[in-house]
Amino acid sequence: MFEDKSFRVVVNIAGWLAMVFLVFPVILTVVVSFNGSQFIEFPPTSFSLDWYANISSIHRIGSATLISLGIGLMAAGLATVFAIGAALVLVRYPLPAKPVLTAFLLSPVTLPTVAIGIALIQFFIMLDVAFTWYSLVFGHIVLIVAYPIRTIIASLTLSDTSLEEAASSLGAGRLTVFRTITLPQLRPGLISGFLFAFLISFDNYPISIFLVRGELTTMPIEVFNYISQNLDPTPAAFSTLYIVIVSIVIMLAERRYGIISLAVGK
């Protein structure tokens, strides 16, 4: 058997190695983005901000980012609304085959994304709505709805039904109880679910690639296009900006609502 102390040391080392493994590519990206060289190389040879100035040379990067932002906000917003309904049914109502239903709703996470992409484009062509912004939104919803469902289920499981009973005994009807008591209790789950959904939609490539054409392209697609034709670190500069912004948003959300514990699941 392990001595308690030596076991802890082993776990600590393993933990730190895993962290380094996960964080290293991010650090590499950041470092490369400040390198003066024409090529992606490590360790860096000189310092420069040229690649940041060069971000605008990525084709349609501004409008594609705006489209991604719009699609992401809409898809995440709708997915969160759907997820509230789904989670309420799954947690609060006696249903037959609950595990099956839960597995079905969470399945997009486990299915190959490319398969979902192919299925979606065939479906949308059949409905004659392919390559429209709203079909892109709905395609993304299919992919991301599992995340808010999961976080809202966690919030609902932690929430206290006696609060709702207390509110109704004080004269609140069902809708009022939901609005004034249930929803505020679900806030951490709603916010973290929305955030995860948005982030996954925002940088999704494999589904979007099937669903976009011409003027309707998203940010990840334009960045990949650039990478496939150029070897310079401009995408690294863009990614660094992206990482910084996302990190700040997640940090703020965690400080305010403790979203990480919910996403991991208690």
Partner: protein, 364 residues
């Protein structure tokens, strides 16, 4: 203020019958407790009154009008939950004002009534705190204030003091009684704590296995219960069985096994009838010498003594072989009956215990 009638309600979950015809009539301004062990159906009864569960048979009426058809939010009842169920995202004021906002009271009216009730529960200085920033006792008061401020017809409490520690419980008991008297509201509360039930209510309804076994004033219920189950549930008792026999002067006595004979006061007993007897530990007197004036005096040896503070639980093996539980209280500055040395009872000492025939409870 209102009168509450629970009229033989029945409720089953699946095969399991939880309420087997519960009836309870509570007068205006009366405070009644439902006392019973966990799983006896007391909380289900409360939830049925509140409207969170619907009985399959029977009726619940407030001032002669059935409330069974009304949803919970239209019943105008004040509820205090066991864990208080305060809204964590609202301040004390917002919590208390919630019911008034639902009733569309004016801002001025709400402010006035919230201030008034905060004063009643002595929390005026904490009105802007959140529940998480308060102690258990304070939360309890907020929950009570929130339920009372809407002027409910009936106040319902679920184990109101259950989550508090001993000292706070005693304080809140006094406090609760004061508020209840001041407001004079019809109150029903459920508890498994007999001390709480006996000290807080005008009448106690003992509930066992989905039925109200017996209802009465706390003293009556404790001193002279009609049902054997109620006697054993309420406080400790020595339980004996024996056969009624009359002596030559036609005085009733009970012959128990082991040759133990108890004189009893009850009249109208049949000769040869088998009876169960109950004697409360505090109704025995304990003494080192036999007093021939006293009936029902028995010789025995102290086997165990458990110190409880205000008294000691003494277990005496009497000569018939029965182990009898007797409360021993050291008389202040007086005679300690010679059974105690420097305040403690000596195990193994030979003593006499006696009980007055009046204090022997008899059950079929």
């Amino acid at each position: 203020m209102a009168r509450l009638e629970i009229d033989s309600i029945r409720l089953a979950i699946g095969e399991n019958e939880i309420l087997k015809g519960v009836s309870l009539d509570i007068a205006e301004g009366e405070c009644v407790s439902i006392l019973g062990p966990s799983g006896c159906g007391k909380t289900t009864t409360l939830r049925a009154i509140a409207g969170f569960t619907t009985p399959h048979a029977g009726d619940i009426r407030i001032d002669e009008r059935s409330i069974l058809e009304l949803p919970p939010h239209k019943r105008n009842l004040g509820l205090v939950f066991q864990d208080y169920a305060l809204f964590p995202h609202m301040t004390v004021t917002e919590n208390i004002a919630y019911g008034l906002v639902m009733r569309k009271a004016s801002k001025v009216d709400i402010r006035q009534r919230v201030d008034q009730i905060l004063e009643l529960v002595q929390l005026s200085d904490l009105e802007n705190r959140f529940p998480s920033e308060m102690s258990g006792g304070q939360r309890q008061r907020v929950a009570l204030a929130r339920a009372l401020v809407i002027h409910p017809d009936v106040l319902l409490l679920d184990e109101p003091l259950g989550a508090l520690d001993r000292k706070l419980r005693d304080q809140m008991q006094v406090e609760f009684r004061r508020i209840q008297h001041e407001v004079g509201i019809t109150t029903i509360f459920v508890t498994h704590d007999q001390e709480e039930a006996l000290s807080l209510s005008d009448r106690v309804a003992v509930m066992l296995d989905g039925q109200i076994q017996e209802i009465g004033a706390p003293e009556t219920l404790y001193q002279s219960p009609i049902s054997h189950d109620v006697m054993t549930f309420l406080g400790a008792s020595n339980v004996l069985t024996g056969v009624i026999a009359y002596d030559e002067n036609s005085n009733a006595k009970v012959e128990c096994d082991g040759g133990l004979v108890l004189k009893v006061n009850t009249t109208g007993l049949k000769n040869g009838e088998r009876k169960r007897l109950g004697i409360r530990p505090e109704n025995f007197t304990i003494s080192s010498t036999i007093d021939t004036q006293v009936p029902n005096s028995f010789n025995g040896t102290i086997e165990e003594c458990i110190y409880k503070g205000a008294y000691a639980d003494v277990y005496v093996r009497i000569n018939s072989g029965h182990l009898i539980n007797v409360h021993y209280k050291k008389q202040h500055g007086g005679n300690d009956h010679g059974i105690a040395k420097s305040g403690t009872v000596v195990i193994g000492s030979n003593i006499f215990i006696s009980v007055h025939p009046e204090n022997i409870l008899m059950f079929t």
